[in-house]
């Protein structure tokens, strides 16, 4: 093997808090050679970000303890370095790219200041030369108008643009290693593809090593030479990407691959990691029969019909607070859903899919067009119609009231216009818990006592409380780990079987959509550009945007075909 840029040996790490020590890393070892692109893949809490942060000693030294191990960067032990020496390494020999392009750049400093700072700190150049270097770096990241970006504040740039700025900054002092911690997780698929390609190109051109931290196996497959699979603070498997993904050895790696919807029979139950790892009491309950054949016979009636639905948001107001200019978020969109069917709305952020979802449940008024539910215009606020259409939001972290116990959250829709006694509500909450795979004795707990996946189960239970017929699911799995995503998808499919529910499923994830949806409508710039049967649209897209989207989707299959 080539000379390692980074060598981590038998590294253990504990977080110390008043509650006691938490073992985040359990004796991990890792090598990255010159010019190598190495992936570390794992779920949230597995310790992958801790590994990344630790290479540059960015964790607060007072809050961690390192019982064993060493981290060598270019043959120097970073753990023995003074803060001053570390500051030379950081941004100089090793630099980082972070996940959240929205918050990772300082909002009150211009891009120019933020890049120049790094250059001036590590290189002996004048301010004028630094400006020249910055501009050429921005040009290298394929920014069309480097001067404008250079002079901008972060909020004036899109997520993808900011991530390009981060890349320019990371490459600014010709580092030996770039640690990229989930660099594309917050980005749209098409932008993700561009950013990954850019990162790879720049790394190869400058012979820079990359340590890519991600939860996405497909991204690893596309980018990395070697991969380490991380589970509960340990590397359970390592090897070339081809070997690990093509022929996984460890039970966790296998389970992780099996939990991905990609390449599985649509609507089949996905294997879950929890079940595979035999962590007693897996809450992935099968409600009824898991076999797709038992699905309730569909009447074929059209349940929901959106006719030229248009949503506008006011942009400027006149003196009397009357809106005078508008932004059109949904532009004359017409789609319909048949009973028991799942229609997926696919598109990137800002395309209007959430605005349309909100319009269906009556959270956004339509500026034009109409939405008809079983022959009734939802504008008429018929309480029965409103009850039959329920919504589940994307982020269960923020969509559940943190001060309410689960039973209250779940049964709140039942109390609209009715007064039911507490015992009855608690009983209903217990039933709902069982329905969505939670323990009925957990109804007195608060949302923060649950994991992300469990919180999403609470949100689904809440929506189910009033026995809806149509469920609007707005990115219900995108805030979750892949293995948890598998559980929620299983649950949604089970519920559809059991109750004959109709889904309007909003997503940006093509693999998930392929797995769960019968029909798909692709939204782009406020309009539906293409719709039809899922398989047909996704395998033979006709609109240019759909084609771009399909090409951009990272996939295991494609990565190995290449």
């Amino acid at each position: 093997m080539v000379k390692p840029v980074v060598r981590i040996e038998d590294l253990s790490l504990e977080f110390i808090s008043q509650a006691g020590a938490f073992e985040a890393l359990k004796g991990i070892s890792l090598d990255i050679g010159e010019g190598e692109i190495v992936g570390v893949v794992g779920e949230s809490g597995s310790g992958k970000s801790v590994t990344a942060m630790n290479i540059l000693q960015l964790l607060p030294r007072t809050k961690i303890r390192v019982p064993t191990g060493s981290i060598n960067v270019l043959d120097h032990d970073v753990r023995a370095m003074s803060e001053k020496r570390l500051q030379q390494i950081r941004g100089g020999e090793v630099s980082m790219i972070f996940q959240e392009p929205m918050t990772a750049l300082n909002p009150v400093l211009r891009v120019s200041d933020q890049i120049n700072d790094v250059i001036l700190r590590h290189k002996d150049v004048s301010a004028l030369e630094a400006e020249e270097i910055s501009l050429s770096l921005l040009e290298d990241t394929q920014i069309a108008d480097p001067r404008r970006v250079y002079e901008s504040y972060p909020h004036e740039l899109s997520g993808g643009m900011r991530q390009r700025v981060m890349i320019a900054m990371a490459f600014s002092c010709s580092p030996k290693l770039i640690v990229a911690d989930e660099p594309t997780t917050a980005l749209d698929v098409t932008v993700q593809a561009q950013i990954l390609r850019l990162l790879k190109e720049r790394a190869e051109k400058t012979n820079t090593s990359v340590l890519l931290i991600t939860h996405d196996l497909a991204v690893v497959a596309q980018l990395c030479n070697r991969v380490y699979v991380m589970y509960k603070g340990e590397f359970v498997e390592e090897g070339t990407t081809q070997d690990v993904i093509g022929n996984p050895q460890h039970v966790y790696t296998k389970a992780l691959l099996n939990s991905l919807p990609e390449g599985k029979t649509p609507k089949s139950r996905l294997a879950t990691v929890a079940a595979a790892m035999l962590e007693g009491g897996s809450n992935d309950k099968v409600i009824k029969s898991p076999v797709a054949a038992t699905r309730i016979a569909r009447s074929g009636d059209t349940v929901l019909e959106i006719k030229k639905g248009t949503v506008r948001y006011p942009k400027d107001y006149n003196f009397f607070g009357r809106p005078i200019t508008f932004h059109t978020a949904v532009d004359h969109v017409s789609v319909d859903i048949k009973e028991g069917e799942t229609l997926a709305l696919v598109g990137e952020s800002g395309c209007g899919k959430t605005s349309l979802a909100n319009a269906v449940v009556g959270l956004n008024p339509l500026a034009d067009g109409e939405i008809i539910y079983r022959g009734k215009n939802i504008k008429d606020h018929d309480p029965e119609t409103r009850r039959e259409i329920q919504i589940v939001f994307q982020d269960p972290q923020s969509s559940l009231d943190p001060r309410w116990p689960v039973w209250k959250i779940m049964t709140e829709p039942l109390t609209v216009g009715k007064s039911l006694d507490k015992a009855e509500l608690r009983k209903r909450a217990g039933e709902l818990c069982e329905m969505v795979g939670l323990e009925p004795d957990q109804i007195d707990r608060l949302p923060h006592e649950f994991s992300g996946g469990q919180r999403q189960r609470i949100a689904i239970g809440r929506a189910l409380s009033v026995r809806p017929k149509l469920l609007v699911l707005d990115e219900p799995t995108s805030a979750l780990d892949v293995s948890v995503q598998a559980q929620i998808l299983n649950l949604l499919l089970d519920l559809q079987d059991e109750f004959g529910l109709t889904y309007l499923f909003i997503s940006h994830d093509v693999a998930v959509v392929r797995h769960i949806a019968d029909k798909v409508a692709v939204m782009y710039q406020s309009k539906v550009v293409e719709e039809g049967d899922t398989e047909q649209i996704l395998s033979a897209p006709t609109h240019e945007y759909t084609r771009t989207l399909m090409n951009a989707v990272p996939s295991l299959e494609k990565a190995f075909a290449a």
Partner: protein
């Protein structure tokens, strides 16, 4: 104005001609409208509430005045007319810029207020400046590493200071610097003598500083946990750069709101401080004129304070746009 209502429904994208003409000035017009409404409400409310407070003729004439004397005084000042007539007379004069004459001294009411105003603005400005000069560096230092032992100690002391009422610290200042040490005068004002400015300003600053320090410290500590600090650290930024260049400018966005509120409070006249130090500012005048039921002066004061508070708030809003690039409108 009715043209707006007619053109708007024509097309959602098409703004009326009137709208596009005044578009850029809408924020200014909004502010001016708010000011006009504010002034109208303040003057009207105060006019009727003051009339409930007592009869100024009694105060003017003294305790042993005969009913005839009282009648004469009421006639002289127009106090014998029905209240609503008095109100319209007053508002009519006010629109022409006439706030009436002081019942006590016969001076023009607004003139009296305006001669007192500089004294208030002087100590308000000095106190604010002193408070800012101490609170920002101190708060930054505290917030940079709030878990350290020394910072926790200092935080505790500041917390105690925040609990001490303003008049207590003013009295302690007088005891120490005027009575015991005899360095500074305890009373009165002389524009030419800087020594007379110090105690009133210092005791005001003493009152403002703890809360501002605590806000700066809390905001700095919060900013230090932000992602961009991690980015800066990963780029090799040393500690002072993290604090002064990255964290503090963000922390000050929150502090600016408090500075604005505090200053708005001060320009209304620090009543207690001005009274303790016999400082002839508008706070002192407010006490004086209220005690003598000198309505025109109280009215003029309220009018003046309303404009000042409004201006300070408007300036605070503007300074936000200067401090926070996210609030600057496009094209600026």
């Amino acid at each position: 104005m009715s043209s707006t209502a007619e053109t708007a429904p024509a097309g959602p994208q098409a703004a009326g001609r009137w709208d596009s003409l005044i578009g850029p000035f809408v924020p200014v017009l909004h502010q001016l409208t708010r000011l006009a409404v504010l002034l109208f409400m303040v003057t009207t409310l105060l006019f009727f509430m003051l009339r409930l407070a007592g009869d100024p003729a009694l105060v003017l004439a003294g305790n042993d005045a005969t009913p005839e004397q009282l009648e004469a005084i009421r006639a002289q000042y127009g106090l014998d007319k029905p209240l609503i007539v008095q109100y319209f007379n007053y508002m009519g004069n006010l629109i022409q810029g006439d706030f009436g004459k002081s019942l006590a001294s016969g001076e023009r009411a607004m003139g009296k207020v305006l001669t007192m105003l500089p004294a208030t603005l002087l100590i308000a400005g000095l106190a604010m400046a002193a408070s800012i000069c101490i609170a920002i560096p101190l708060g930054a230092w505290l917030g940079f590493k709030p878990e350290r032992f020394d910072r926790r100690g200092v935080s505790g002391i500041i917390f105690v200071f925040q609990g001490v009422p303003g008049f207590v610290s003013a009295l302690i200042f007088i005891q120490v610097f005027a009575v015991n040490l005899r360095w500074l005068p305890s009373l009165g004002m002389d524009y030419g003598n800087v020594k007379t400015w110090i105690l009133p300003s210092a005791s005001l600053a003493w009152f403002l500083m703890p809360s501002l320090t605590r806000v700066v410290a809390a905001n700095t500590a919060e900013a230090m946990r932000e992602d961009y600090i991690r980015t800066a650290r990963a780029g090799g930024a040393p500690g002072y750069s993290l604090l002064w260049r990255h964290a503090l400018p963000n922390a000050l966005l929150g502090a600016a709101a408090l500075i604005g509120t505090q200053f708005a409070f001060l320009v209304g006249g620090a009543v207690i401080t001005e009274t303790i130090f016999a400082w002839p500012g508008i706070g002192w005048l407010l006490i004086e004129s209220t005690q003598t039921l000198d309505f025109p002066v109280v009215q003029a004061l309220a009018f003046c304070i309303a404009i000042l508070v409004f201006t300070v708030n408007a300036v605070t809003d503007l300074s936000f746009q200067y401090l926070d690039p996210r609030l600057r409108t496009k094209g600026n």
